[in-house]
């Protein structure tokens, strides 16, 4: 594959990504409300600099907190079994631990390691999302 082909493939991939993001947010009533989350998610995907890494880790802790609160409330309302709530709590501990490791990596300037850890957090959040749906 020539450099031109690789460049074109990269451009097409980015275009598809932008389209998918737009379609995703078009499903919600207020796109403006979710635009910051979209931007933060982009920061987490690339970790282009130390500030992005710090913001990404902060966002991850905020999401862990929100998910824990939602799980506790749903369980209290009888909408979530104790077993499922325990499973979510265990996964959230995994996400918290991975975020902590990313935090240490950022302090040491190891952004690649932080990105790997945040990718692990995304996998955990995905599993939780599927369980809570």
């Amino acid at each position: 594959m020539t450099p031109d082909h690789l460049l074109m493939r990269s451009i097409v991939t980015r275009a598809v990504a932008i389209l998918l993001v737009c379609l995703t947010f078009a499903m919600f009533a207020s796109c403006a409300l979710f635009a910051p989350q979209q931007d933060v998610a982009k920061l987490c995907a690339g970790l282009p600099n130390r500030n992005a890494a710090v913001t990404c880790v902060q966002a991850s802790y905020a999401v862990v907190k929100a998910t824990a609160d939602v799980t506790r409330q749903r369980h209290a309302a009888g909408k979530l079994s104790a077993d499922t709530a325990r499973w979510v709590a265990a996964r959230l501990e995994d996400a918290f631990t991975a975020t902590e490791i990313a935090e240490v990596a950022i302090s040491a300037g190891r952004l690649d390691e932080a990105e790997d850890q945040m990718a692990a957090v995304i996998v955990v959040l995905t599993a939780i999302e599927e369980k809570l749906q």
Binding site: R50, N51, A68, D69, S107, L125, T126
Partner: protein
């Protein structure tokens, strides 16, 4: 495309949480943009407040579940 799927998945997760919990990451983004504009580095110590809040919510969840 796996990176794209991860982004979309995280967006969905964040959006659902935002809807159900009133979660807003806007202050974090504004702080990031301000630091970038000023050429200033965010202090990793600023993470501590959110980390403590997340830990407390995890403890609250654990305490709310029946033992055993």
């Amino acid at each position: 495309m796996s990176a794209v799927l991860e982004i979309i998945t995280l967006l969905n997760t964040l959006a659902q949480l935002a809807q159900s919990q009133g979660l807003s990451l806007r202050p974090l983004l504004l702080a990031y943009e301000k630091a970038q504009a000023e050429g200033r580095q965010l202090d990793p110590a600023e993470i501590a407040v959110l980390k403590a809040a997340a830990r407390q919510s995890l403890v609250d969840l654990e305490n709310a579940l029946p033992k055993g």
